[in-house]
Amino acid sequence: MGKVMLEVNELTTKYITRFNEDVYAVDHVSLKVEEGKSLGIAGESGCGKSTLALSLMGYYFSPLHYTSGEIIIDGQNITGMNPDAVRKSILGNEIAYIPQAAMNALNPTQKIINFIEDVVQAHDPKVSKKEIYELARERFEVLGLPKEVLQRYPVELSGGMKQRTVIATSVILEPKILIADEPSSALDVTSQKMVIKMLRYMMEKGYVKAMIFITHELPLLYNVTDDIMVMYAGQIVEKGSAQQTVFDPIHPYAKGLMGSIIVPESGLKDSKLTAIPGTPPNLKKPPEGCRFAERCKYVTPECKRFPVDMKYVEGNRSYRCIFSEEHLRKAYQNG
């Protein structure tokens, strides 16, 4: 087992809305990412993926609030650290983030190079502009961006260029962990894979040590991340290797996300998400028992009675369902 770059234990965060209601969008989430590995997080819209991405940064501002749990980056526990200290010494250089709307992530009236200067100098004011320029130029070249881009305003760049600019900027300080929140959701599948390849390349070059990649399309993660977590209503419902989770999901929700794909490769290409009937529950008042019960084909009255814990099974996998693996597999075979 490699060195653990990111360890998260029982992290819980909530939104406090304008009307003073609590929305538990990240509920007791635990995860681990080792050096050189990538973790994919999948789930429908509204399941709390973006909130998890923000929560992992360890820096909270209204309406998002920290409730409990811990975040350990490369052995350093950052929970309870002074927020200003987190901002100065953690954000950007230990852990970095690519927002869901990467297209709008850049300040429209600032030249790219000036923004990169701000990023670098926020952590070390002593670095000269010349050094920053050299660094940025090299990093841009690696991503296939001409150095002229540095002198441009975001509005003067195409969508793909902006995307790469954001990637290059996020890794400029060589963060240990990079969290990419649907960096490609506006793109078609081929371009999405491109972006993922680029992110992986950043890891190969050593600019990033571990990566978390978030998407609402589970099939996309096959072959690009090492592990996958499936998230539903603020909780993890399944965790395992990418291969296992995509081709052999255990949890009925993960199964639903994969649709009816059976043929590897050819099947994946034209896989359309077979929509699971219904919508995720309202996180202001999540159900007592299994959160997926309302939409589950295999539901029994027992499911709704108590909160369900994760079950650990062979092959380093886990899932959140009261039924055994065999029981579920049999159920899937019978349709």
Partner: protein, 334 residues
């Protein structure tokens, strides 16, 4: 740059079109008076004048200046030509002083008062607006209602309030004029000091009105910008809030330049009123005395000058805006 050239030409075209309309209006309005404009002017003049040679001179001057016997198109070009030569004829109320002379002595008071006041008000208003949006809480709760109140005061209201409090009650500042009535304009410390003291109340009454209007617009622009994705991204890269507020300020402020361009007409109107309240020796006060004295050539010249000033200020602002906001160039080039 191609996008910007198009933007520039577009704005220039608008400037020309509006300028033509301004000239047309200024030319037509006197001619809409019943009867022969020259006769109307001279007959009105005759009531206040006993000097028959003067009257005759005026009549002749206007007959040639307006060329009332010539076709209307020709008259218009004659008029435009006169305007460009700075020939606005003679004032009635201060006959035979040329109108251009009166303009020359009052325009710099107006420019010196209004431009700094509007710019200072605009800057302070924008800073308060972005701070209200960023700090929220108590600060916002004070700034917002006060700004709303101030920006809804009629222009003369603010001037009168300041006048009553600081000139009449506290006697900190003089009530009227551009300098002490016992002084003659010259380069002496006494005179300059007197100008500075007389400047304060009209200046701040214009500034305060400008602050109110700008702060409200800036606050809502900034709240919108603070929720933008780039703010979140910059934060999560560890950039300090002070820097980020700078981004927000710039992005919210730039469109405020067009806001200022739109508001500048109203502001100048309000500023002219402030001049009148404080009997400041600028165009506003000149216009008022001209109206009171039915000094038709002077009224016409002052209104034309004010209109042209507003148009040019407007144009300049839009041009600057286009130059410094990269979003404009991008928007124009597709």
């Amino acid at each position: 740059m191609k996008g910007y050239r198009r933007y520039f030409l577009n704005k220039l075209l608008w400037l020309l079109v509006t300028a033509v309309f301004a000239f047309l209006l200024n030319f037509t309005l006197p001619r809409l008076m019943p009867g022969d404009p020259v006769a109307a002017i001279v007959s009105r003049l005759a009531q206040g004048m006993s000097n028959s040679t003067g009257m005759k001179a005026v009549y002749e001057q206007y007959a040639t200046q307006f060329g009332t016997n010539k076709p209307i198109i020709e008259q218009f070009f004659l008029y435009v030509g006169n305007v460009f030569k700075g020939n606005f004829g003679s004032s009635f109320s201060q006959f035979p002083r040329p109108v251009i002379d009166i303009l020359k002595s009052s325009i710099w008071w107006t420019v010196g008062l209004q431009f700094p006041a509007i710019i200072v008000g605009w800057i302070i208003g924008n800073i308060l607006g972005v701070l209200a949006a960023y700090i929220r809480k108590g600060f916002d709760k004070v700034i917002m209602p006060v700004s709303l109140f101030i920006s809804n005061l009629p222009a003369f209201g603010m001037a009168v309030i300041l006048l009553v409090i600081f000139a009449v009650d506290l006697k900190w500042f003089p009530t009227s004029g551009g300098y002490g009535f016992d002084l003659i304009p010259e380069f002496s410390w006494r005179f300059i000091w007197s100008v500075i003291v007389h400047y304060q109340l009209p200046f701040w009454s214009i500034v305060l009105i400008a602050i109110g209007g700008q702060a409200i617009g800036m606050r809502s622009m900034s709240i919108y910008e603070l929720n933008a994705d780039y703010v979140k991204y910059a934060r999560f890269l560890g950039i300090k809030d002070r820097k980020i507020v700078g981004y927000v300020f710039r992005n919210a402020m730039l469109p405020q330049i067009t806001g200022l361009a739109l508001a500048i007409g109203t502001m100048v109107g309000g500023a002219l009123v402030a001049e009148i309240i404080f009997s400041y020796p600028g165009l506003g006060t000149t216009l008022l005395t001209a109206i009171q004295g039915q000094d038709y050539p002077l009224i016409s010249a002052v209104t034309l000058i004010i209109t042209v000033m507003v148009l040019i200020a407007n144009f300049t602002l839009e041009i600057i805006y286009g130059l410094i906001d990269p979003r404009i160039k991008a928007a124009q080039s597709d």
